[in-house]
Subunit: 391 residues, 2 copies
Amino acid sequence: MTSYRYARRAEILGKSVFDHEPGAIILNSGLAYPPLLPDVSMEAANAARDRTAEVMQYSGLMGLPDLREAVTGFVANDGVRCRPENVLITNGAKHGVDLACRVFVEPGDRVIVTAPTYMTSMNHMRSHGAQFLPIPQDEDGMMTEVLEAKLQRLTANNERMPKLLFDVPDFHNPTGITMSLRRRRHLVALASRYGFIILEDDPYRRVRFEGEAIPPLKALDEKGVVLALGTVSKILSPGLRLGWVIGEPEIIDRMGLQKSEGGSCPFTQRIVVDLMRSNRMAEHIDLVAKRMALHRDVMVEALARELPDAKVRPPQGGYFLWAELPEGVSGEAVADQALKHGVEVSSGRLSFPEDDPGNFLRFAYSYPEPEEIAEGIRRLGIAYREVVAGA
Amino acid sequence: MTSYRYARRAEILGKSVFDHEPGAIILNSGLAYPPLLPDVSMEAANAARDRTAEVMQYSGLMGLPDLREAVTGFVANDGVRCRPENVLITNGAKHGVDLACRVFVEPGDRVIVTAPTYMTSMNHMRSHGAQFLPIPQDEDGMMTEVLEAKLQRLTANNERMPKLLFDVPDFHNPTGITMSLRRRRHLVALASRYGFIILEDDPYRRVRFEGEAIPPLKALDEKGVVLALGTVSKILSPGLRLGWVIGEPEIIDRMGLQKSEGGSCPFTQRIVVDLMRSNRMAEHIDLVAKRMALHRDVMVEALARELPDAKVRPPQGGYFLWAELPEGVSGEAVADQALKHGVEVSSGRLSFPEDDPGNFLRFAYSYPEPEEIAEGIRRLGIAYREVVAGA
């Protein structure tokens, strides 16, 4: 048997988060709720039949002009003013993270993240050799005062300054926290002052259950320091594999040139154009938000009943929920024990760039039926008590 | 205005090859012939309507099981014996090149290529910091005797040995050359002996006009040293953005984990499954091959008439044609002058990893109508004579 000489980055990206245990109740995946997956058969047939020359040919690296235009309208509702030349079409938001890393990150470069942060993006940034500068969160999101102090110290010590910051300011993955307006303004000011780029990952913004929307970081950006990542995965369908990046043309043109897949699929781009131009997209988002609110309620109630020791912050939107177990109880042990009872939850460990406190769990309520959520949390309670009893 | 601190690789990937001059006759692009783009509206509507849960959800990183299975049947016709677990679905062949580089190439690693070679793949390998070990071609393809001598010298000098080899053995881009069976056997033996991986890029194999097919390198590989890249771009539609890599599970699993786009689009995967399972794929390939033979004939005849000084090797298949101008006549000057006459051809310079001889042109005959090919070459003849007269 041949033995192969792999590059270091082949060791960094580990087990796929998309592997699931057959038969288990899935409480750890941001899959779409299956009954709400849209039927796009009409849009698909129209695209294939009426626009063959457009959708069956290579399209440009930057995306279809019509979709770049449609995205400007979509984000205008959030107060983001941009033109088609500010929009790069991608194969989902993670693809945007990767392209930004290709354009900005050299091995050893520092990337600012919240601790905890979105695990999959963190792994992709790691594969580019990124080092992390972790910043804690409170109820108002990333603690930008802590960040500022760290940046001052790095400057004073003449150390390598961070080039990128990654955050999910709305309904953060995994914590569900939404960053306050004051912190948002502070963060954008810090980026301008210290010369780093903010990657604003915003898949859940439209999936709001209650409370008032806060402008995205990109709407507060006057200096071109924010790259805003969007995706249809959480509001329409993950299978279309489409997202976008909004930023300065100078940056996104370079990101487009890094694409190795010859440009995003024009066929699914055309489907999304049609959905964005019609009312279907907005109607669908309403359905998703209403449904996710119900799932959130069921999970929060079940946790209060079955796991009263856990501290849970009910999120006001999004797909994810974060729970703190009593100090000394291992989230990893509970997750492992839960799997024996046929329930998948994620240990918080995967979401920390370093220094895992050890006692956190990440849940997603998007995919299962409410009855499965309740049953899954019931079994999790059993697993939890077994771990505590055994410890 | 903010100034940005880019990574080195942002400087490496230059102008997109997909940008075209409006109104020009395009004789330098492997775009599909528009009248032959397939209408997949029925397959698309069926996929969206009947398989919503499959095509609208995240699929796995490795690809839909049905497509992995269908690809094994497709390549069995070429004598490649493999199982679904040997097949990774990608967003086209270039995506496979990039994933292979992520898994194998560290900055400074050597990659063996023919000189000239496929420009876009070369640029992506460069962006990973690859250094090239260029090997000349003759009528029988890459001169493996020259490669063997170089590998012996590197070994004797205890130098860094190459990790990868990239080649297009059937209807090579840009030269159109097909590698002989003897050379193929020799190359696979060298890969086993010297421990490098062969990336076999094979988009044009089925687009054969005449002569007998030769087994692909993968069919000769008993040691797991060949990664065979495939794509539907040149035989069906570039817009579906689908390809595959066939290799040892150990390698392709690692490549799948490097995907930043959350897995290839399940929706277009399902369309390709249906086309592969039906007769439509095979029928379509026949149409493409017949059409491309006609385009080749028109271009070869026009070049003999309008550019009799050029040495042209009529390819037996594929999309590309390579022409040698008299020594001292600059391919780049001729290409620039042709553009003034509204014709796009590529200077050979873009296809050489280093040491461009300077007097080559690359043509593609896939996209334009035969009349455009004839008219384009007529104008090229004018441009050529102007350059020679001015020199």
